[in-house]
């Protein structure tokens, strides 16, 4: 009975631990690095959680993922947190009303999110700060990192799906 009441909190705690683990793997130098490219693991974690949860928890986890990314990123603090708060809210609403939790949708949403983030950053770098070599950086670093990150959607998404099914939310989104 007590466990039934505490199910959401335990589930969110499990998500938080997974998000923290993804963050550590993401920032540790040399880990999961392929030809100089590292995956941004908090992104598939946040997107897959958003696909399993109602809009407010999804947004909060998106914000948490963004805050962790901001901690080590070279952008203004709060940029990723704001972007992912809104994006994860949109993902959760999309899954509630329009999309299914198909694997293809996970990959698409994850890649789309990274592409959007990359476009914003490239626009700032190339047009506002006019940093040299921005376009080749987009091709040689950002795009490969997005592709490599999307690959990690599968293991991370599977784990999050298992956590969600195990705790068996009552009411809310339909399972598939």
């Amino acid at each position: 009975m007590i466990f039934e009441r505490k199910k959401p909190k335990v589930r969110y705690f499990a998500y938080a631990i997974l998000l923290l683990l993804c963050f550590l793997l993401q920032v540790t130098p040399g880990v999961l690095e392929l030809w100089g490219v590292k995956p941004i693991l908090v992104v598939p974690a946040a997107v897959c959680i958003a696909m399993e949860e109602p809009v407010l928890p999804a947004s909060v986890f998106g914000m948490a993922a963004g805050l962790l990314w901001d901690f080590t990123a070279g952008t203004v603090f709060g940029y990723h947190a704001l972007l992912w708060l809104l994006f994860c809210a949109a993902v959760s609403l999309s899954v509630t009303f329009y999309l299914s939790r198909h694997w293809f949708n996970r990959f698409l949403l994850c890649f789309g999110a990274l592409l959007l983030d990359g476009v914003i950053k490239t626009a700032f770098s190339a047009l506002i700060w006019q940093e040299p070599g921005t376009w080749s950086f987009w091709m040689s670093q950002l795009l490969p990192a997005a592709g490599y990150t999307v690959f990690w959607c599968f293991p991370i998404g599977s784990l999050i799906r298992r956590i969600s099914v195990f705790f068996h939310r009552s009411g809310g989104l339909d399972t598939q």
């Binding site: 550590l24 947004s59 080590t72 070279g74 709060g78 040689s140």
Partner: protein, 279 residues
């Protein structure tokens, strides 16, 4: 869907978005000081990062010993480099002796400043820029401040961009916004070393605004101009040279003295050098 826009959840999301936007504005205005939320996160994140980095390095050492592979070749190359450096050391010592003797003869005083160093470990990299921005495990409470120079015995690594209580973010010479005055050791010509997004993938940077074409293999060192960096700190060697778009000056691709991606520890020069403002 329409009900969502009128719901309490939507209002909460709007409140959170407003709070995060205010964070962004405050952070942008903080000028090198870590935002307090970031400092709060660092109290949990930095110890975890230190632990995971130590674990990763231990595992890499174990696998490196098991699968020696390229270690033998690297060992051979390092031996050759050692021999060359020993020869240069002898030449340097001879030059130093005659320099001291000449100074005594002319009754000149030595005026080299003292530098204080803080050793730090690299505990994280920027997810987007890779090794162009790195995080170290020492911060304000160790005496590190913004614009402190970061180095290794091999040469320049970069400059501190942001400091928290127990961490600092270092902009390395691979970052496109990094710039420092430099000179060529052979010709003594001045230039500016800066990062380049395209070259950073290969671990290289750029030397620009040279008045004449540099010699390939020439050593590049910091010029100390502006007073924000000691003079004579090795930056790298010239790999290739080309005329810049202006047609009047030359630029060169530099291979840094340090392989930034392979670094585990760095030294931060604290104290007076490195605190001067940009002009």
């Amino acid at each position: 869907m329409k009900e969502f826009w009128r719901s309490r959840q939507c209002r909460w999301i709007c409140v959170l978005a407003a709070v995060l936007f205010s964070f962004m504005i405050c952070s942008a205005a903080s000028d090198g000081e870590a935002f307090w939320v970031k400092d709060l996160i660092s109290s949990v994140a930095v110890p975890l990062q230190k632990g995971s980095t130590s674990l990763a390095r231990s595992l890499q050492d174990v696998t490196g010993n098991l699968f020696g592979g390229s270690l033998a070749e690297e060992n051979e190359a390092l031996k050759e480099e050692c021999d060359e450096l020993r020869r240069r050391l002898l030449e340097y010592q001879d030059l130093k002796r005659s320099n001291i003797a000449l100074k005594e003869l002319l009754q000149m005083e030595d005026s080299e400043p003292d530098y204080q160093y803080v050793e730090a470990s690299i505990i994280g990299t920027d997810p987007d820029y890779g090794y162009a921005k790195i995080m170290i495990d020492k911060g304000k409470r160790n005496g590190i401040e913004k614009r402190d120079i970061v180095t290794t015995p091999g040469g320049l690594v970069g400059r501190v961009e942001e400091t928290g209580t127990n961490y600092a973010v270092v902009m390395t010479l691979l970052h496109p916004q990094f710039k420092i005055g430099a000179y060529l050791s052979e010709s003594n010509r001045l230039g500016v070393v800066s990062g380049d997004s395209a070259l950073s993938k290969e671990g290289q940077c750029r030397l620009e605004y040279l008045e004449e074409e540099p010699v390939l293999g020439d050593l590049v060192a910091t010029s100390g101009s502006g007073g924000d960096c000691p003079r004579g700190m090795v930056i790298g060697t010239v790999q290739s040279a080309d005329k810049q778009k202006s047609g009047t000056t030359y630029s060169a691709e530099l291979k840094p003295a340090n392989e930034i991606a392979g670094l585990t520890n760095v030294f931060v020069i604290t104290g007076e050098i490195g605190q001067k403002d940009e002009n």
